[in-house]
Amino acid sequence: MNSFFARKFVIQGIFIAVALIIVVRLFYIQIIDKTYLLSANNNVLRKVVVYPARGVIFDRHGKVLVQNEPVYDLLVTPREAKDIDTALLCQLIDIDIEGYKTRMQKAREHSPYRASIFEKQLSSATYAQLQEHLYKFRGFYVQNRTVRSYPDSIAPQLLGFIQEVNEKDIERSNGFYRPGDYIGGAGIERSYEDLLRGQRGVKNQMVDALNRPKGVFMDGKYDTLAVSGEGLITTIDRELQVLAERLMKGKMGSVVAIEPATGEILTFVSAPSYDPNMMVGRQRGNNYMKLLNDETRPMFIRPIQASYPPGSVFKVVAALTAQQAGVIDQNTSFYCPGGYRYGGGRAIMRCTHVDGSTDLIKSIQRSCNTYYGYTYARMIDSRGMSGPRAYDLWREGLLKFGLGHKLGIDLPGEKPGLVPTSDFYTKRYGSDKWRSGFNISLSIGQGEMGITPLQMANIMAIVANRGFYYRPHLVKGIGEKKIIKKEFTEKIDAGVDAKYYEPVIEGMSRAVNMPGGTAYSVRIPGIEMCGKTGTAQNPHGENHAVFFAFAPRENPKIAIAVFVENAGYGGTWAGPIANMLVEKYINDTITLPKYIQDRIYNANFIPKPAKKESIKKDTTSSKKDVPRQTVRNTPPEEPSNAAFYVHHSQIRNRYE
């Protein structure tokens, strides 16, 4: 014991004081301050987004066109990633060391503490291999989600694809989408995105600091379930679509088939096509670029985006609108000397034949240019009004037939086609004193007229219905209740009275079913198909073959338009394709001789890449949507004329 004994109490006092400070502090953080408790809950409860299954897309008979398939995203939290056997990892997911480094760098830039996607959409097979080794890669884990898969590999242009959202999408959606989400990028996937995507759910998951799941919180009491997207029943007939795509293989062009009574699109082919499965998975980026750079433009949705001068098939519309306008009736005859003279007899629009006296029915059956030259002249010149005024009336009739404007199909990217206004010609002529001779080629569907294959098929639906149509559409039933959009059930009048259709239909029937008709070779035994051939000029090579038809004549089941680019005469190439599709649809057989079938299957009309240069020039020089006179051309089947203009959109749309 010494003199400093009392200091014992100071030391013990300090001990007690410090213990008290600790207790007070503990009292504060454990009893008073509740923020730590809340933080603890957030710490352990990670709200995990549960992605809903995207809606499945069916054909009209309930067969699956688009379904979901599980894929696996590999995620990494850079801070946790230590002692990684990079070589093994790279080998497992098939990347190189450089790729590993850049991915890691990207993830680190995003956040060292949060997981970011390291590699997307690993297939089940890759995942199975990776999973065995995953425990070796600290900081890596796998999250599964679904991608689209297309069992038949058909109809990519109409089904579309899904893609990762970009910043604009996120902005537009008011934050509904988050980076990494998928959104419909084209086709039905895009137009029905709101219905297909479903509703995200939230799962409260217990996780540790390394984000490793450790069980479900409160047996899922606070979880919200993901709601799957609505299924869509399309109007497509899968079998018909498959057949049509097979027939269009090696060709460029379109096939559109419509059920006239409903406006449902049975077949929608844009050729050349591609396998929609290319737009899924890790090769998507490469494939996408490949498709974009493809000369034949497989991503181009020809049925609604390509517009062509329709050629002779337009005569059907001309005959109907002229009757309605009262300038001709079914008994009106014109004398055909093998061509129509106009411009004071200095110019001639030739026919393929010299038929002499021709009435309305025969004019359709034989596709007489002279007849329609006279008809157009009457429409424009003989109605007691100025040329432009008469032309506008004529044009109005065409618009009612669905030409020159969008039909409103449930698919993004539809083009309106083209029927120029009178102002366009007035401007070109220099005054409004022009008459029918100035644009006589319109009378037979040539010149500055652009019609999409969809519009063409729709014309057939109008004729089949004798005067009306339903807006062509691809989805007939949404969800379990199979709701159909209201706008697709509204009857639209085409502006021509039903009584005027009979002679035209008779002419179309004879064109197919009577010897001497332009499409006699593609008649179908047992079915009265009514059709019309056409040929559209192509300044760059062979003409485009067109054929449209509906069948049967009474109570029609199908209206179809077939367009084969660079194929020449419509009756030879487009006709047989329509023949097989119609017979297949109505009778479920094909009776066309085998050798013709084979000829169609094996035909290849895709232009050689040698044409590249001239095409490119066209592309660059033609940006504006203004029709322009280009090259004079002599079609082999239809009479040619000095005044023929090739429609500009024909070139632009093909090679844009």
Partner: protein
Amino acid sequence: MNRLGEKSFFGRIDWLTVALWLTLCTIGWFNIHAAVFDPEQPSLFNLATNYGKQSIYIFTALIIGFSILIIDEKFFISTAPLVYVLVVLLLVAVLVIGRNVGGNQAWIPIGSFRLQPSEFGKLATCLLLASYLSSQINKHPNKKTLLIGALIVLFPVALVMLQPDTGSALAFFALIFVFYREGYVGNELLVLGGLAILLFVLALLVNQWIIIGILFVVAALFAYALRKKRKYLINIGALFLGSLVYVLCVDFAYEQVLQPHQRNRIDIILGKMDDPRGQGYNLNQSKIAIGSGQLFGKGYLQGTQTKYNFVPEQSTDFIFCTIGEEWGFVGCVILIAIYLTLLVRLVNIAERQRTAFARIYAYGVASILFFHFFINIGMTIGIVPVIGIPLPFISYGGSSLWSFTALLFILLRFDSSRKGLNG
């Protein structure tokens, strides 16, 4: 020894301290078990896990403890210099052959076990300091003795700093209590020390010119109140000038001397930096774990924060988180009460020693245990910077458990022979 002597020998042991020691070890074991418990793979006992190893360490510590009790106390007195030299050699060795773990070269691997010489450094330093100061006990406390005593402490500190293990090095400074008790430093040092800490914290938090202004006002007020007493005036003037220089130096020292991670730790404590996922991650998670324990805790093995590895180092330095989360405020207070009882008890034991050696040594033990207790718990609840030192008897680890046990039981040995000498 006859039967009576044997009985009286064990009868003289301070069984309360032994009981407190055993209680702390047991609490430690259960909480290490809780900290490493994986609810998905509950296994009863596994020697490969931390709690499995800790049971071996506790068992070994028991053997060490009771071995110490049957060794003659003179052995510890006579071998104190030898032990000191040995530990110093180990501290040098660890710099050469040691294994670097977490940036500190503090461990010597022996088989699967890793020896941490700095833990034994405290024991050796206590012994030698007690040996030296007790040899000088008959002289009046003087500067020379203080200097040599300080050197005995600072030499291992320097070696530990080289590792660099700042936390362990700081623990040696707790021996200031020994010097205080023996009269080598006075009350004014405690006041100055307190003032220094206060000014340090203030200087980092508030603009230094404001502090200097406040200091000036306070000094002026004191000067006015004590204007009659010349001696105090000089003292106040000196203190004011000293504080002035100190405040100006703090900023410099803070920026230039401290390492970035140490600066960050201090910044986080002071609330200058809000970084719940970076440097402050450990602390933030630790506070969340303890705070979420509430009054009664979540129950044994029910802690979510510690269970799911949110808190780092949870079986070693952050073991208190597990206790706080699973046993709540009540459990924490009980643990602190046990510690406080032990610390107060140790001081009482110190004062009842007949020999200066035993008393000085006892204060050394109490000081070091106190420092560890304060710093370790303090850092988990955010009142002191994060300094990686274990909570004695509770944290996982063989080196620390054995060295603290040896530290404590050598004292108990002295204490039991005190009674023996008294008859």
